[in-house]
Assembly symmetry: C2
Homo-oligomer: 428 residues x 2
Amino acid sequence: MVPYFKQSKEELLASKKELLERYQMFVDQKLSLDMSRGKPSPEQQDLSNDMLKISEYITDDGVDCRNYGLMDGLPQVKQMFADIMGVPAADTIVGGNSSLNMMYDAVARAMLFGVAPGSTPWIQCEGRKFLCPVPGYDRHFGITEEFGFEMINIPMDENGPDMDLVERLVSSDPDIKGIWCVPKFSNPTGIVYSDEVVRRFARLQPAAEDFRIFWDNAYCVHDFDVDHPEKLRNIFQECIAAGNPDMVYMFASTSKISFSGGGLAAMCASENNIAFAKKHISVQTIGPDKLNQLRHLKFFGDQAGVLAHMKKHAELVVPKFQAVLNIFRRELEGLDVATWTEPKGGYFISVDAMPGCASRIYELCKQAGVKLTNVGATFPYGKDPLDSNLRIAPTYPPIEELELASELFCVCVKLAAVEHLLSARHAA
Amino acid sequence: MVPYFKQSKEELLASKKELLERYQMFVDQKLSLDMSRGKPSPEQQDLSNDMLKISEYITDDGVDCRNYGLMDGLPQVKQMFADIMGVPAADTIVGGNSSLNMMYDAVARAMLFGVAPGSTPWIQCEGRKFLCPVPGYDRHFGITEEFGFEMINIPMDENGPDMDLVERLVSSDPDIKGIWCVPKFSNPTGIVYSDEVVRRFARLQPAAEDFRIFWDNAYCVHDFDVDHPEKLRNIFQECIAAGNPDMVYMFASTSKISFSGGGLAAMCASENNIAFAKKHISVQTIGPDKLNQLRHLKFFGDQAGVLAHMKKHAELVVPKFQAVLNIFRRELEGLDVATWTEPKGGYFISVDAMPGCASRIYELCKQAGVKLTNVGATFPYGKDPLDSNLRIAPTYPPIEELELASELFCVCVKLAAVEHLLSARHAA
């Protein structure tokens, strides 16, 4: 393949004609496909259907889950999450069905009450800022936008966030209160933070003593090869070793293990952090849904049960990622119009199209009936400075639809590039 | 019976001796009973066990409840709550399992963002105040204490809060941002707000335009005689009629209908209020547990199904209230040592002991192995200015234990009164 940018105007015009013809064929099919959100497929949800048949309500040690109590969760479920996260069960709180809710509440608590007894509420810090590795998760950015943080983009590479930049900013600016991290199979690039990156996080010397790392380990057990998982260093232990035990809040959920619409979420943090959170949560609620916790406990048993279950997810998810990547390679390789990630787990493929082309690709796909994640969604304020990044979510659609959508996507990536190059030459 | 206060010193000493002997008999039984919280009994929870056998996950109109989406709840469940609350389904949000959590979040939202687009966050009102009808619900007061409100006691009578006082305060002080109400079978007095009280609430002319009534209708369908329910006027409609549609937030839950540890909660309010809440909730969570919503929908069907279910609760609860009240009448009537409420629904009996005696009664009961709700819990800051009110929660214990505990309670009420009178005479 000759990269487009090396092609002559005539070659580009010929490519454009051919691409428009292919594009029209897609339009004629009147597609209606959605690749916008990282949702498990119905087949993935089916894997947990037997959980819905569990009608028990008393734990093995005699707790009646139907009644009030146990504000921080059933001890056995705390243990299950603690094992998955690599922390002590005592440092774990099991919440409702949404880890996003727990993160929002953690930020809201810090806004109103600070992060420790006697610390200053974040709302009193007028120039409060938050670091946002990009591309990242739109709903994280939504929270810090809601609470009035200035969000600062931090570039990511295959090892994680640019730690030189993170260290420089965090150590010098006391208005920087936190950073969003998806350390394993990062949303959307799918990369896993390297040991070095995790260690540098744990050793940060923040100017703000109330600086917190929001470690959203949403895809902690979501390896494609569950028997040979990608290793993520344990930030909790590293923070203790570095003398920064209180610096990290960890989050996880079963939204993509059991049910997105009825799973469990958990938060883990130091003894100090958990005591502070519990003090406020005990005013907020009498406790989460323990019947659903018991269902999960009876269905999974323990961490090993969760991992065995994740193998079944992988069997369904891997072929979809492979299908998309095969089409990307076939259609795009050698043309220098896009780069993409090939993750070993998680829910997304991140595509960097030719700068200035992402919005056009989104529009072209939309007009042909394929909905992508909004352009810019992976950046704070919904603004991708390069108009380049697109997030592909392969898990939900059936594989035939996925292949169709992926092929259309590639046609649009190429068409947008050709248009862009022709327009640039015309202007030149 | 001769009231204690009319008895001679010798008569009182004789009563004391007799009471101490009875008290010692209870102590010798080494009881361990808990009458402290308004918890449904295991038998009540059993009524909903069949709900746990529901393993469906698709609604009749094809929504897969296992996946993400529907942040404000399943439409059919919104309708069910709306019917119970007497509001349009569009003005309803179904949340997780805790209405307390929805109330806390409503206050937290107002603290951080105000109550409407452009309104001032409550946190900026330094002298913020909240009205607290007393005796009331400790967890309500916990929320407004957490958020730094000065809490003002509002006396209650059999018709509801003292509306002369409420009107005078609310219309004159813009720092008063809200009031806690449990309008039906009020916690703990069990009274139902009269039509007149509800109308006067709806017609308030608050000095603060961001004043909100927190209408916690926790016991809206918890009548002892479900076929002849106590009527509570519809505050939502009254507020519309009075030109104050945005002044009320309504809350309810199935915590005492289905399961306390796995029910559903809902909030109802005007279109403006709901739109404002949804704007923020959509940042906070992708949505509540829809599988549990579907379970409730399939089990109850609709409002009529809920009411039929409440009859079964009443059959279990009424004998317990009667048992307590029979003992109160037998032991206390005519002695002028206590008054108590005889509610027609809900979860509590409120006892006003001789002023200055509640703490002593609590201690005496505790030393004999019966745990009551903390003295003062029914007042802001946990401080009952008269040291008189005690909340009795009859629903949880088996009836034999309840009778034992009630008898002990009465002995302690009398013993504390005798001690108090003797001590007063000694001082005089």
